[in-house]
């Protein structure tokens, strides 16, 4: 009994402690860099908050991430609804729509969009041949194509938390609402939607945090012109050897992610999402 208790205690305390140590040690190292390179002080953080170029990159990142998050979550909500409440045939179709892109490499998906959208791509050639346009549209190597590619990647991630919450809704509640004379729209806005808020919020946070770290998709679909924070950090670390500033930027991103994770845990119970 005592031995079992011991093993149990060790497992309970040691593993999380180990996890924390393995995670925290490098993190503290990065923080150390951010306040010590090239010389001790907060100058890297000052630069992060005052340097116009860095602020522009952060603004661009925020704008793209917000656009991507809103679009992905809206699409995911519709997809999840049909996946959870649709007929068996529709469910199967939705599963295909959600899972097939989910399993295809991020690189292939980004290049796929280039093939479709570029000047001599499928879309422009089709529009030209039916006479809908006279000149090829510039669809790729723009912020638009970056957002499109990121949404395409992130929609499945947004579907899962929402669908999981929708599955837990007791359909009798909806029937009761209808039975008391509420219209379908009223029922949706006042009964169904509030019940799914936690799923929406989880999706928003998951997608936003993911989008924040995007690197490959903007690089391929942005024509090199859409530099976001992840690539900016990479540049500071590997191209310009500006480790202190890169570390400060990393800590900044981490703070944003941590704040969002904190929000997630306060508003909803994560364990509900994995039912």
């Amino acid at each position: 009994m005592a031995a079992r208790l011991n093993i149990h205690t060790i497992a309970m305390w040691l593993l999380p402690a180990l996890f924390l140590a393995v995670y925290l040690a490098p993190l503290l190292g990065i923080f150390g860099w951010s306040v010590s390179r090239p010389e001790p002080g907060a100058q890297n953080y000052v630069r992060m908050l005052t340097d116009a170029d860095a602020l522009n990159i952060m603004l661009r990142t925020a704008r793209v991430c917000i656009l991507v998050t809103l679009t992905s979550v809206l699409m995911a909500y519709l997809l999840a609804y049909h996946w959870v409440f649709g007929s068996p045939a529709r469910k199967l179709f939705m599963e295909l729509c959600i899972f097939i892109p989910f399993w295809i490499s991020v690189l292939i998906r980004a290049f796929g969009w280039v093939v479709i959208l570029r000047n001599k791509g499928i879309l422009n050639e089709t529009l030209l041949s039916i006479g809908a346009i006279a000149e090829p549209l510039t669809l790729v190597r723009t912020e638009f194509s970056v957002v499109l590619g990121m949404v395409h990647f992130l929609v499945p991630f947004a579907v899962f938390p929402i669908a999981s919450i929708m599955r837990q809704i007791d359909s009798r509640v909806l029937l009761a609402s209808r039975g008391m004379g509420a219209s379908p729209a009223f029922t949706f806005w006042n009964v169904f939607l509030p019940l799914t808020v936690s799923g929406i919020l989880a999706s928003v946070i998951i997608v936003f945090v993911f989008a924040l770290g995007f690197f490959i998709t903007p690089a391929i679909l942005g024509g090199g012109k859409i530099v976001m924070i992840a690539e900016y950090i990479y540049i500071q670390m590997f191209q310009t050897s500006n480790w202190g500033f890169g570390a400060a930027l990393s800590i900044g991103v981490l703070a944003v992610v941590a704040a969002m994770a904190g929000l997630l845990f306060r508003v909803i119970h994560p364990e509900r999402l994995v039912k």
């Binding site: 116009a52 170029d53 090199g224 012109k225 530099v227 540049i235 191209q239 050897s241 480790w243």
Partner: protein
């Protein structure tokens, strides 16, 4: 930091796979590039094995054994190649964490200079490496040229062939030469091109007036379809007509010319030429002598000509140009006559200013 070297390995692999290159040519090319496969970091006895880091692709893996044997026969040392690419940040990491795994790096000269100044790189031992086998004026304190490549004007010859562009002023002239442009995302050569377009004399380029160059690039920005960051991408932009003109590595420009049967052409006029450099991190496992011996062995003109034949990289050893075939002479970036048409990038300037200038450049690129 350029990925030119990685690009060379990719080219070799592409040509080998598509049957344009036989196995022997492929291997010789790899030998010349000093590239083979990823070496697993592991315990090894100093002096028994030499690790050269390059930008190799995974298609190279299968041939490492053959290559290593060939090298062993020549030197008695085993050779392992790591393909992870000696980015400045990566070399710095190895030095700082006291875990140097690479003996010889094929890196950017300005990275070698910068890290050399910080005391992280070995000085080249010119008692082992032969100064007379280096294009005069390019022997570095911390690096030895491994080969030359150039940033050139590639253009849509089908459209502009009658009055081909030959200066960066032409490149900026969208009225005379309509169409989109593409420039290099990691900036090497781009500021020089902009200043030449703005009327700065080649002899007066350095020190670069960064703000003036950026202002000139800003004027062109609405016409820039993409800032390419891989050689394959730059080729695609010209081949598919997405850009009517581009600043390309001459190797890729030449391939695009072959692919399009001359519909895309290029010129060495006002090309911005630079060596790639062998460099050694302090505390390399096989020891300084072994590293320098490898660099000396790589100066062999035959290998350098093979590299030119397979990829178009200009030999670093002036003696090699005499061995170049008539057919390849127009592609040889470092021959006397082609060097005369070009302007050399100044590694020292980059060592001093690359970081700050790149920050500004990328701010403009992404604005």
């Amino acid at each position: 930091m350029s990925n030119f070297q990685r690009d060379c390995c990719e080219l070799l692999a592409e040509r080998f796979r598509s049957g344009k290159l036989d196995r022997r040519g492929f291997l010789t090319g790899l030998v010349a590039l000093g590239a083979a496969t990823m070496a697993a970091p592991g315990a090894r006895a100093a002096g028994q094995e030499l690790v050269v880091v390059n930008w190799g692709g995974d298609a190279i893996d299968a041939y490492s054994a053959a290559f290593a044997e060939a090298y062993e026969a020549a030197t008695g040392n085993k050779l392992k190649i790591d393909g992870s690419g000696p980015l400045e940040g990566s070399m710095k990491t190895q030095f700082e964490s006291n875990s140097v795994r690479w003996d010889v790096c094929d890196a950017e000269p300005y990275s070698a200079i910068r890290l050399g100044r910080e005391g992280m790189m070995e000085k080249i031992d010119y008692s082992i490496v032969d100064r007379s086998k280096i294009e005069p004026g390019f022997d570095g304190e911390f690096y030895v040229p491994s080969y030359f490549y150039s940033n050139v004007i590639a253009y849509d010859a089908a459209r502009f062939g009658d009055d081909a562009p030959s200066t960066w002023a032409d490149f900026w002239n969208v009225a005379k030469y309509p169409g989109k442009r593409t420039l290099y995302k990691w900036m090497t050569g781009v500021l020089e091109a902009a200043l030449l377009a703005d009327g700065v004399a080649p002899a007066e380029l350095y020190p670069l007036d960064v703000d003036r160059a950026l202002a000139k690039i800003e004027v062109l920005k609405p016409h820039i379809v993409s800032f390419w960051s891989s050689g394959a991408e730059s080729q695609q932009l010209l081949r598919d007509g997405e850009a009517s003109m581009g600043l390309l590595w001459h190797t890729r420009a030449n391939l695009t010319k072959q692919d399009t049967e001359g519909e895309v052409d290029w010129t060495f006029d006002q090309g911005l030429v630079s060596p790639s450099g062998w460099t050694v991190i302090k505390g390399n496992p096989a020891g300084l002598k072994a590293a320098m011996e490898f660099i000396a062995l790589a100066q062999n003109p035959d290998n350098q000509v093979t590299l030119l034949n397979e990829l178009g990289n200009g030999p670093a050893n002036p003696a090699a140009h005499a061995l170049v075939s008539e057919e390849m002479k127009p592609v040889d970036a470092s021959s006397k006559e082609n060097l005369e048409r070009q302007i050399a990038l100044q590694a020292e300037w980059y060592a001093d200013h690359y970081g700050t200038a790149l920050d500004k450049y990328l701010a403009l690129v992404s604005s």
